[in-house]
Amino acid sequence: MEPTRSPMIHQPRTLNELSLLFQRIEKPLLWAGGTYLMSKSEYYPSPSNRQIIDLAEIEELKRINRTDRYIDIGSMVNASSLLSAGKLILPSILKSALGSIIGHITRRQITIGGSVCEPESRVAFSTALSVLDAQAEIRQWEEGRFTATWIPVNRLYDKDGSLLLRNTAFVLTKIRLGLEWGDFQRFVLIDNPIRKPDTAILVAFQATRNQTALTKVRFSASFPKKAFYISPELENQLSLLSFPVHPDRVNSISYEMVHDLTNRHESITEFQAERTRRVFESFLHELNIQTLS
């Protein structure tokens, strides 16, 4: 039986048209790639009749722009075009994150803005973007107009990985990446976060090697539907290390990290914590090897 309700669809072509729609429509549902929205169990048939604003026609949101200091990626750029357009300009950690999405069929459909705003952090972008100190341009709808602010990607989520702005009317228009990246970048995804959210982990690490020390250390781990983990204390601790680090010390740091992780996020399983520990440990061992060679 066809449901009687069919949500009204609006397809603005510019950000100005989008703002006019925000004036007219109360609590519209913004549609980017749709991969998250369509995977929700209550998606169809849905009793909700929220009007939908499809962002696919807004050209301003599909641009990639590189200057001397940064790269701006429009929120409607899909993973596939970013991967092919940006092989020469993207940091390796972001390329790994983009490549970790199974299949070009899925990559063509997932947009960078949609995945950053997706409330269950199942896709790898946010984890990679947070260690790259990426900023998101957020246009919040307040008092009848858009107000643009830049927010670091790692501040878009609470400790459980939920989007902090989820109850606010806003549009993510672009992601900005600085061009100073660390020379040690690693991204590891284990298990498919969409199919196996209970066991999947996403881990990203970036640092600049400076003789035996590390600077600009960034570490982030995500657990779909459970947690978004960043720890400035851990990053400071790693910055104070002098490499090579004794294997026993590597081991103890990794257990300290897991202790902190599981203290803050009780929903993470032992299995996921152990996986994260081993991945983290492997990064430190790799740094040891690179220092010694």
């Binding site: 009204m8 549609w31 749709g34 991969t35 369509m38 929700k40 299949g103 069929i105 899925t106």
Partner: protein, 168 residues
């Protein structure tokens, strides 16, 4: 909403909910027999169709994105020469997918062949990135075949496609 599109070479006007997934439209409104499952966007990889000649997972394409689209399911794809390359590879390797995932795996292989043929290096030198192909093939979750068997089929089909394009 009123949706005008072409499905398997037939021009249709459908009255569907604007958010209805393409996979459900094909099952309920068009009666496509090769479309057997609707996983509700869980990425099982069993609902691949071609929209404007590009492979998509039909469970995550809503009706409102299909205005004037040309949709091709396995039912018409199996009558094309492109499909023969893949069927020949099934015969040559002695393996083929189970009836449940046969349409999707075939269209998945076709989408990989299209990507390979669009790469000048792969097309001219016949080189393939086996790891990348294995990752692409893992999109379909039906366990009826081993990944290495599917890889062998894909490489064989690619060889047939290259030879055929070379003689055209």
């Amino acid at each position: 909403m009123k949706l005008e599109c072409t499905i398997d070479s037939k021009s249709l006007t459908l009255h569907v909910s604007s958010t209805k997934p393409l996979s459900l439209m094909l099952i309920e409104d068009v009666g496509v027999k090769s479309m057997l499952s609707h996983c509700r966007g869980k990425a099982c990889g069993n609902c691949i169709v071609l929209v404007n000649d590009v492979a998509v997972l039909s469970c995550i394409v809503p009706a409102f994105r299909l205005k004037d689209a040309k949709i091709r399911t396995f039912e018409t794809f199996q009558r094309t020469r492109l499909c023969r390359d893949i069927e020949r590879a099934y015969r040559a390797t002695g393996n083929k997918p189970c009836p449940d995932c046969y349409p999707s795996k075939t269209l998945l292989i076709e989408s990989i062949l299209t990507e390979l043929m669009s790469s000048t290096r792969s097309r001219e030198e016949g080189t393939v990135d086996e790891k990348a192909i294995m990752q692409e093939l893992s999109l379909n979750t039906c366990p009826c075949m081993d990944a290495t068997e599917l890889l062998a089929i894909t490489i064989q089909a690619f060889e047939y496609r290259r030879r055929r394009r070379g003689t055209n």
